[in-house]
């Protein structure tokens, strides 16, 4: 059986944004082709005037860049980096088109590129990636940036974005979960070294791997549920990828 990636993703507006009447400022995009996978997730910065627009622009450009690199046979971490660079350029172009400064379209960005069980990740800002790996089981593949204050995060539009971008490479990955910062309090144990909260991820990967119809609706229901809202007032987005036929 040829391995193939299956994905499910959803986003939900947080109760903080429901109260203030603003929309969900997370954006995500996914592309799969057989054993090739690209996922982009961005969280628009609340203080930026067009944070949601910047996030949407970033994920569209990142996905386009990732797909081009994967099809050209670029190594996964290099492809993820190139996708982030494409997103950085696109957001700056979007700012020029709108006659505004790029910081008004500020967002975080996570790009994951996979070919089979090899994964490259480019990540700037908070949110994170947890993997289900053959070697370690559940593992944090890319940890949230943590500043002194919650409003301190690194962003794609920064002039220092290349220095602040964390690029990593992983092998033996049979499951991936990208999540925005609204999810990270409930799914991680955030100590000095963040670790996945296993009772969260084990059933999440197991159920996603069933490839059932309506999983996206079900995931949205989870993210919008009262118990998730109780845990964080922020928007919540989660994209899960499961590699079928990767072996145990």
């Amino acid at each position: 059986m040829t391995p193939a990636w299956f994905t499910v993703g959803a986003g939900a507006r947080g109760p903080g944004h429901r109260l203030s009447g603003t929309g969900c400022e997370d954006a995500f995009a996914v592309w799969t082709h057989g054993d090739a996978l690209a996922i982009a997730l961005a969280d628009g910065v609340g203080s930026a005037a067009y944070g949601a627009r910047g996030a949407a622009c970033a994920v569209a450009a990142a996905l386009k860049g990732a797909r081009t690199e994967v099809e050209a046979g670029t190594a996964e971490p290099d492809a993820a980096f190139a996708a982030a660079r494409n997103a950085h350029r696109a957001v700056h172009q979007c700012a020029r088109d709108r006659d505004t400064v790029a910081s008004e379209l500020a967002s975080t960005l996570i790009v994951a590129v996979a070919r089979g069980d090899r994964v490259g990740i480019a990540h700037i800002g908070d949110g994170g990636v947890v993997g289900d790996t053959k070697l370690e089981g559940l593992a944090v593949l890319s940890a949230p940036f943590r500043g002194r204050y919650a409003n301190e995060t690194t962003v794609l539009t920064s002039n220092q974005w290349e220095r602040e971008l964390a690029v990593s490479s992983h092998t033996g990955v049979r499951g991936l979960c990208l999540f925005s910062d609204g999810c990270q309090n409930t799914c991680l144990m955030l100590g000095v070294e963040p670790r996945p909260f296993a009772p969260f991820f084990a059933p999440l990967f197991a159920h996603s791997g069933r490839r059932l119809p309506g999983l996206g609706v079900e995931l949205h229901r989870l993210l919008a549920s009262d118990r998730f809202s109780d845990a964080s007032s922020d928007d919540k987005t989660m994209i899960i990828g499961v590699l079928d036929g990767a072996g145990a």
Partner: protein, 224 residues
């Protein structure tokens, strides 16, 4: 049998907003202490009812009447019980402020250790009707407050009644002191409550402007 099987890490990891009340409980505050106690109870009730504030605001109370006392270390609002304060003795304001700043630093270290970020800078809120009686120790506190403000590590407020020594209070923090109008303690506590609500509702990264402390129509708690 689906995503409902997912279990959450239930530790409250919501970014925190610290509120430290530094309350003068010296003998001269005897006429005001009941109002202050009512204000603390109002603060507890109002913020515990607020679904966002109760998860992110942590409150601590330091008093100085005879000696500085940590009446309540930082605690999540959901578990905060307003202490009933009484008055006695002199006004060791300098020592109380130094102890308060230690408390803020220690809480910051604890939050960092467990990986909880702060929502915005801790608030240190001084309430007094008098002047320091512990010599020049207020000067060391003043220097530390100004350093911490410059480093954006806290926001300091000093509020004095009509009888307070504003020649000292004005120097403690970079934004000077405010004078309480006509013993409007209730309005003062409502302002603190609304400020905490605003911060807990703010988007991450949003600069939350201070709420007005007085209105043209005579409302508010600050004396002109």
């Amino acid at each position: 049998m689906g995503y409902e099987l997912v279990e959450f890490n239930h530790h409250n990891m919501e970014p925190r907003q610290d509120l430290l009340l530094v309350v003068d409980t010296s003998s001269s505050m005897s006429g005001d202490i009941d109002e202050v106690n009512r204000g603390l109870q109002t603060l507890q009730a109002a913020l515990q009812e607020d679904p966002l504030a109760r998860k992110c605001v942590e409150v601590a109370v330091v008093t100085f009447g005879g000696m500085p006392v940590v009446r309540q270390s930082f605690v999540e609002l959901a578990r905060f019980e307003a202490p009933t304060l009484s008055t006695q003795g002199a006004t060791p304001m300098g020592a109380a402020l130094m102890q308060s700043l230690d408390l803020v630093d220690a809480h910051g270290a604890l939050l960092r250790e467990v990986g909880i970020p702060r929502r915005s800078r801790p608030w240190v809120f001084l309430i007094t009707d008098g002047q320091p009686t512990d010599g020049d120790s207020w000067r060391a506190a003043r220097d530390r407050i100004h350093r911490a403000e410059r480093a954006k590590e806290l926001v300091f407020f000093a509020v004095g009644t009509e009888t307070a020594d504003f020649s000292v209070l004005d120097k403690l923090g970079p934004r000077g002191a405010k004078k309480l109008r006509d013993q409007r303690w209730h309005e003062l506590f409502l302002w603190v409550i609304d400020s905490m609500r605003s911060i807990s509702r703010s988007a991450i990264g949003e600069q939350v402007p201070l709420l007005p402390t007085r209105g043209d129509d005579g409302s508010g708690w600050e004396a002109v």
